[in-house]
């Protein structure tokens, strides 16, 4: 695939506020997002549910109208050149949006025709894609009578029918079993290896780590940090995070830990203590012992190695899944 020059996706100060409706106040879903995704890159928007990822994808795919900032896809403006952008992108939505009035193969065939292929070309292209993705057996089936993993692969095929310049995937593996998820990752890796630009959203840390060249961590409609997974771990989350919940106010001597080398930060919140450490060996045991020395018991304890999850914890000060 010859990639024309220029960024695949570029946004500046992109915003979306949904207007107030009835008793519900206005929702600032996206509050100024800057993205720069070069062609050929596998880029991930990572964040918890409700962070504004889907709204961002909605704006990039022209179906959500921005209320501020600019967004360009393949050098085209998402508001002014919406139709031309739609010709150049493929989108895999979170839900199964296959056409239930058509068979699996017809879904691909008509999608090809919508994008300008002739009827015979479109049928041939549909068959090729289904074979390639191991979906040959499903071709005559109803798209709602195949498995969730198969349906997702059919949707990816459908998004690829017209050879899009950028492929958008919104939470591609949400709700899939682990085996199916790894299979799908394999498919996406192969696609990127063939030169496909991919932008995906996910709330699975391990998915972003496994697939993406670069990741932007999003929360509350803002980008908290972005870079390669290694960069993120290096700058924001090089620490192992140890969390201990005491059954009483934590022992005073814990405050002193913050000054020790190898410990970057200690956060105390009620009975819960969180220690960010570059040298975590033995620390968990020490925290338990400190409590025991003052007669304070431990009700819960955990230790997270440096990962996108600790990056998130460091950036937001709260658990990813809270």
């Amino acid at each position: 695939m010859t990639a024309p020059p220029g960024a695949a996706v570029r946004t500046a100060g992109l915003q979306k506020t949904y207007p107030a409706s009835g008793p519900r106040p206005a929702v600032p879903a996206v509050q100024g997002i800057d993205l720069d995704v070069p062609r050929g890159e596998f880029f991930g928007l990572l964040g918890p549910n409700g962070a504004g990822k889907s709204t961002t994808i909605g704006m990039l795919t022209t179906l959500v109208v921005p209320t501020g900032g600019t967004a360009h896809v393949c050098g085209l403006d998402v508001v002014r050149d919406a139709v031309e952008i739609k010709r150049r992108i493929g989108v895999v939505s979170q839900n199964n949006t296959l056409d239930s009035d058509l068979t699996v193969a017809e879904n691909l065939e008509f999608r090809g025709r919508f994008f300008g292929l002739g009827a015979r070309e479109a049928r041939k292209r549909a068959d090729e894609l289904l074979e390639l993705f191991g979906l040959g057996d499903t071709r005559g089936g109803n798209p709602f009578e195949i498995s969730g993993g198969q349906a997702k692969r059919v949707m990816i095929c459908r998004a690829l029918v017209h050879g899009p310049e950028v492929l958008f995937l919104d939470e591609p593996t949400a709700g899939l079993d682990p085996q199916t998820r790894t299979n799908l990752w394999e498919v996406l890796r192969e696609l990127q290896a063939s030169g496909q630009t991919i932008l995906l959203t996910t709330h699975y840390m391990e998915e972003a780590e496994a697939l993406c060249d670069r990741v932007a961590v999003v929360d509350h409609g803002k980008i908290l940090a972005s870079g390669t997974v290694d960069q993120l771990k290096g700058t924001a989350g090089a620490d192992t995070v140890i969390t201990v919940a005491y059954d009483a106010p934590p022992p005073d001597r814990i405050h002193a830990l913050a000054d020790r080398t190898g410990i970057s930060k200690v956060e105390i919140n009620g009975g819960q203590v969180r220690v960010f450490a570059t040298e975590p060996d033995g620390l968990l045991g020490e925290l338990v012992a400190l409590g025991a020395a003052e007669g304070v018991g431990v009700t819960d304890a955990s230790q997270l190695r440096p990962s996108l999850e600790t990056v998130f914890l460091t950036l937001t000060g709260r658990d990813y899944r809270e």
Partner: protein
């Protein structure tokens, strides 16, 4: 899993007309697949109606419902009315049911909107596709109402004015489809049942299907209220074209209503649809 080494697609020539034609081709494929179930559903009501009123009741001796001896048979009154109400019912259902699915279930409307056309054109495509189904529904009713009747109860129908017939059938289908899209985009999807109960049923019962509009002279208020019912103009227009001897509205009145209504409702439905799809 085998590695997907994806060949580039054949060069696509996606122009608006080609995309639009492909979208209509999709409708045609679906219509062909569902032809029997869709149109049997449309036909049952008018067929049962003419069966009871043009066959069973006359056989029972109760056939003097419309006009005495020498007057028009009830079936003559019914032909334009039942064709008109089939057009309306079929076109509205053809647009509303799929739309409710797309807006609610899996939010698949966001996917349909990714087809490379401006969103208002997608609305126009939905109207055209549904109008086509309305037209087919109306045409299919003809044989049923022409041939089901007791001896001596045959409808006296001949095409007196082809241009009026064609304009009213085409514009009537578009009018109903546009109205359906407007209601479908304005209504809360949970209220569709209500729509059928309080909009479609009264509209067909009071749409001058079973009597000509002029016969309402004795119930003046109903005659005036009926003027707000688009089906009235389709029924009356078809009467002018098919049974000119039965009193009917003047051509300017029903043509203005049907054509003007089509333009107005298409404009309004396109706007509400676009608002609903683009957030």
């Amino acid at each position: 899993m085998t590695a997907p080494v994806l060949a580039p697609p054949p060069p696509a020539r996606a122009t608006l007309p080609r995309t639009f034609a492909a979208m209509m081709a999709r409708e045609a494929r679906v219509m062909r697949k569902n032809f029997l179930s869709t149109f049997v559903r449309v036909l049952v009501q008018p067929v049962m109606f003419v069966f009871v009123f043009a066959y069973v009741l006359p056989k029972l001796g109760g056939g003097a419902m419309a006009g005495g001896p020498g007057g028009p048979t009830f079936s003559t009154i019914l032909v334009p009315g039942l064709v008109g109400s089939s057009i309306i019912m079929q076109a509205m259902m053809a647009v509303i049911f799929p739309l409710m699915m797309e807006l609610n279930w899996q939010k698949s409307i966001t996917d349909r909107a990714l087809a490379p056309v401006p969103i208002p054109l997608l609305a126009v495509q939905k109207i055209l596709a549904a109008a086509l189904q309305g037209l087919i529904g109306g045409l299919l009713v003809f044989p049923a109402v022409l041939f089901i009747h007791a001896d001596g109860q045959a409808p006296e129908v001949h095409v007196a004015n082809w241009p009026v017939l064609i304009v009213v059938m085409l514009a009537g289908s578009l009018l109903a489809a546009a109205g359906g899209l407007l209601l479908g985009t304005l209504l809360n999807p949970q209220k569709v049942q209500v729509l059928f109960a309080i909009v479609l049923l009264p509209m067909t019962m009071l749409g001058c299907v079973y009597y000509p509009w002029s016969a309402l002279e004795d119930i003046r208020w109903l005659q005036i209220v009926s003027l707000f019912n688009p089906l009235v103009y389709i029924s009356e227009g078809l009467r002018a074209a098919l049974t000119p001897d039965i009193p009917h509205m003047p051509a300017w009145a029903f043509l203005l209503a049907v054509l003007g209504g089509t333009v107005l409702l298409t404009w309004a439905a396109t706007r509400t649809f676009t608002k609903r799809v683009l957030t």
